[in-house]
């Protein structure tokens, strides 16, 4: 009897210890709200494993970055300050904004530079994200941990009874995986899939969620792996939002597939669970169709990993006490989206996945046999046009197709009927093997013949390998209107103290871009379409000679003037 008790106690404490040692508490990224957002990108380090720390990239943190809370209708101003060793870019994934603010491969931020894009938030309430987008460096820089969530809120979403207490019943989950070498450094980029899963930079994560409906904002932040997510007891949950907004009505499901870059907001009911019980969010990745990233059966090699072709736990959820104001039901209707249809489209385009021949001398995946070229505009879209794009993949592997500038509506899919789970506004979709997907999008508001937007496969190795192309949106009425000579400008005071002012000789002149460099050629700041009313803050600059390059909005011609900082 006593012995039995003793054994029970020993077993219990062993089990208790194991569960304690097995899980780490999920990191919930800090939030920033308001209209001015300071993001400091830096090389740093984080303790992932026992022993040495792992060199990482962080944004205001040691891995990943803060969650930016935007309100639709606000103009948000970003101060992106790079303290990194490398040049980088920061792309606002899913945001509808001017191309010069987009943070694609052209808006390169040199080390030590502040980049200050801003835009009016017109996106619907949903979960977006930001991440580096420097061509051929995206995988490496994302692997270090650079990135973060954006949550857009709007009146329509606010009027609904949905969980929205961040970190309590509204939880962002960035799913990814990594490989560590013998010194605990991240391995990049020979293997497409990590052996060690992580959520928000937490290995073996656990989180306590209240006994009620909770909302999970799930992002596939992988390099190439897909996730076929469900709960360990196969319970149903509700998909309430796609990449770019709430669905018209919740969609009940037991699984949801998210390929790289895709987001979904789901609501799951923990109201029937006992406090103290637990449930796992699981990647049911065993036995996926060929071409699903991470479905390859090998455990090793460039396309293998310990998590491949198997089911694995993503997040351990412990059920805690119900909170005040708990959400106990899912609204029957969520939004009243008016979706675009094929009939709205006046231009049709086709993009075909080609190449991707394996082995030495093989060609990387590309669109229409055309690798990404920094200086080539592959497509020109006229502002205000609704277009139908058909993406064809009769090739050897799956892809995650992403297009910048717009949220689109998938109107057809050859592999299976368009699912209700992907029936909302999207900016990434899973392009299976032997799949033809057609979507409709309207290219509104922002024309710019100089700075292109991208469309690409969001598998980082594919994108870096050149499976990316560029389009510009042009204003049909303004194209080629470069006859007007550029105006001139003056800098004052010169020498300057803390503020540098600019006066334009022609009051109708608009400024497209300002870049200030020091006498060594180091870029101090990059100001797309700057608002110059209050001058430019140069208080942090060392005394010396600087050069200000101003590009005219209409003519796109650049002029350089020198000034002295006292």
């Amino acid at each position: 009897m006593k012995l039995k008790h003793l054994i029970a106690i020993v077993l219990f404490s062993v089990a208790g210890y194991n569960s304690f040692a097995q899980y780490n508490n999920l990191v919930i990224p800090d939030t920033i709200s308001g209209t001015t957002f300071n993001l400091n990108l830096k090389d740093t380090f984080k303790q992932f494993l026992p022993g040495n720390q792992t060199v990482t990239g962080g944004i205001n943190s040691d891995f990943w970055g803060p969650t930016l809370l935007f309100n639709k209708g606000d103009t948000v101003h970003m101060n992106v300050h790079s303290y990194m060793n490398d040049s980088t870019t920061v792309h606002w994934h899913g945001m509808h904004l001017p191309a010069v603010m987009d943070g694609g491969p052209h808006q390169i931020i040199p080390p030590g530079t502040v980049w200050q894009p801003y835009w009016l938030v017109t996106n619907q309430a949903a979960t977006y994200w930001y991440h580096p987008h420097l061509h051929q460096m995206a995988e490496q820089q994302m692997t270090t941990g650079l990135g973060g969530f954006i949550i857009v809120r709007d009146a329509e979403e606010a009027a609904l009874a949905l969980p929205r207490t961040y970190g309590v019943d509204d939880i962002p989950l960035a799913l990814t995986s990594r490989n560590f070498d013998a010194t605990n450094a991240f391995l990049c980029c020979t293997r497409a899939y990590g052996d060690t899963g992580m959520v928000n930079g937490t290995l073996h994560p656990q989180v306590t969620l209240p006994k009620q409906y909770v909302r999970l904002r799930i992002l596939n932040a992988e390099m190439e792996r897909g996730y076929n997510l469900g709960f360990s007891d196969n319970r149903s949950f509700y998909i309430i939002a796609n990449d770019g907004g709430l669905l018209n009505a919740p969609v009940s499901a037991t699984r949801i597939k998210l390929l790289v870059g895709e987001r979904a907001e789901i609501m799951v009911d923990l109201g029937g669970d006992a406090v103290g019980s637990s449930i796992d969010l699981v990647a049911y990745n065993a036995g996926q169709e060929f071409g699903f990233g991470g479905g390859e059966p090998s455990a090793t090699g460039n396309f293998g990993s310990l998590l491949n072709n198997r089911n694995f736990n993503v997040l351990h959820i412990n059920v805690g006490a119900t909170t005040a104001g708990a959400i106990t039901s899912v609204p029957a209707t969520l939004a009243s989206n008016t979706y675009l249809t094929t009939a709205d489209a006046t231009v049709s385009r086709t993009v075909t996945v080609t190449d991707g021949t394996p082995g030495p001398g093989g060609l990387p995946f590309q669109f229409d046999h055309t690798l990404y070229n920094f200086d080539t505009i592959n497509k020109t879209v006229v502002l205000g046009t609704t277009e139908k794009w058909t993406v064809i993949n009769n090739n050897v592997f799956g892809h995650a197709f992403h297009i910048h500038d717009v949220e689109f509506k998938i109107v057809s899919r050859s592999s299976h009927p368009v699912g209700a789970y992907e029936g909302g506004w999207k900016d990434v979709f899973y392009l299976q093997v032997n799949d033809t997907v057609t979507f409709v999008a309207k290219f509104n508001d922002y024309a710019d013949p100089i700075h292109p937007f991208m469309y690409h496969c969001h598998f980082a190795p594919h994108e870096d390998g050149g499976m990316m192309q560029q389009f510009v949106v042009v204003d049909a009425t303004g194209v080629g209107n470069t006859e007007k000579p550029s105006g001139d400008f003056n800098l004052y005071p010169n020498p300057a103290g803390n503020k540098l002012n600019i006066s334009l000789t022609d009051p109708a002149m608009q400024v497209y871009y300002i870049t200030i460099t020091n006498s060594q050629g180091r870029t101090m700041c990059m100001l797309p379409r700057p608002q110059l009313g209050n001058g430019i803050d140069i208080s942090a600059y060392a005394p010396g000679v600087y050069f200000l390059q101003l590009t005219d909005e209409k003519t796109k011609q650049s002029m350089i003037k020198k000034f002295v900082k006292e």
Partner: protein
């Protein structure tokens, strides 16, 4: 009988010597050449300026790298401990200062003053020393030893095995190597992987 024992012993000794020699070649007995680089005090420093040195702890480091930033107190401690035993610390920054403003010479001078460096901090602006040693990361340590008038690399790699938390260090690779060499023994761990930021070499 005696002769046969003797010859067996000889054979064993020869085999052992051969194994020893081959393990030595494997362990990379690289000879590095001297350098002449500007210190933060403005003076040029070379290895030959230390005629009494038995060896050196040479650490490639820089200002900006978050991992390099963890080590100045440990470098001061290593120099305190080993300089008096004839093995001084020399730190070298080979960082590309065009790429990284924080690693410029004036900022190195500031850093050495702020962190009270008790060892030379040299500016390898032509990146000759880093190429000679083959340093990869900041920090990347080398223990070199004087053998027949030459400088032989006896240890190459990390300073120790925990950057952020000195209390959790379980292997002080550099100190262990110097202790072994001072005791006339072979270094157990001749090579580890250095951890930190890549030193970008200009073409």
């Amino acid at each position: 009988m005696n002769r046969s024992i003797f010859s067996t012993v000889c054979a064993v000794v020869l085999t052992a010597a051969a194994v020893f020699a081959s393990s030595f070649t494997v362990a990379d007995n690289k000879v590095v050449s001297d350098f002449k680089l500007k210190n933060v005090d403005g003076k040029l420093v070379s290895l030959k300026d230390f005629p009494d040195a038995k060896g050196f702890i040479i650490v490639f480091t820089c200002n900006h790298c978050p991992f390099a930033k963890l080590y100045p107190p440990r470098l001061n401690a290593l120099n305190d401990q080993y300089k008096k035993l004839g093995v001084p610390v020399i730190a070298i920054s080979s960082s590309d200062t065009v790429l990284y403003d924080e690693d410029s010479y004036p900022k190195m001078v500031e850093k050495a003053r702020e962190e009270h460096f008790n060892f030379p901090y040299l500016y390898d602006n032509q990146q000759t020393a880093v190429r000679n040693f083959g340093a990869q990361k900041t920090p990347h340590a080398f223990v070199v030893w004087k053998e027949n008038g030459k400088w032989v690399v006896k240890y190459n790699g990390a300073i120790d095995d925990n950057g952020a938390d000195p209390s959790k260090v379980s292997h002080r690779y550099v100190a262990d190597a110097v202790d072994a060499l001072l005791a006339g023994k072979e270094v157990a761990a001749r090579k580890t992987r250095s951890i930190g930021c890549q030193i970008n070499l200009r073409k």
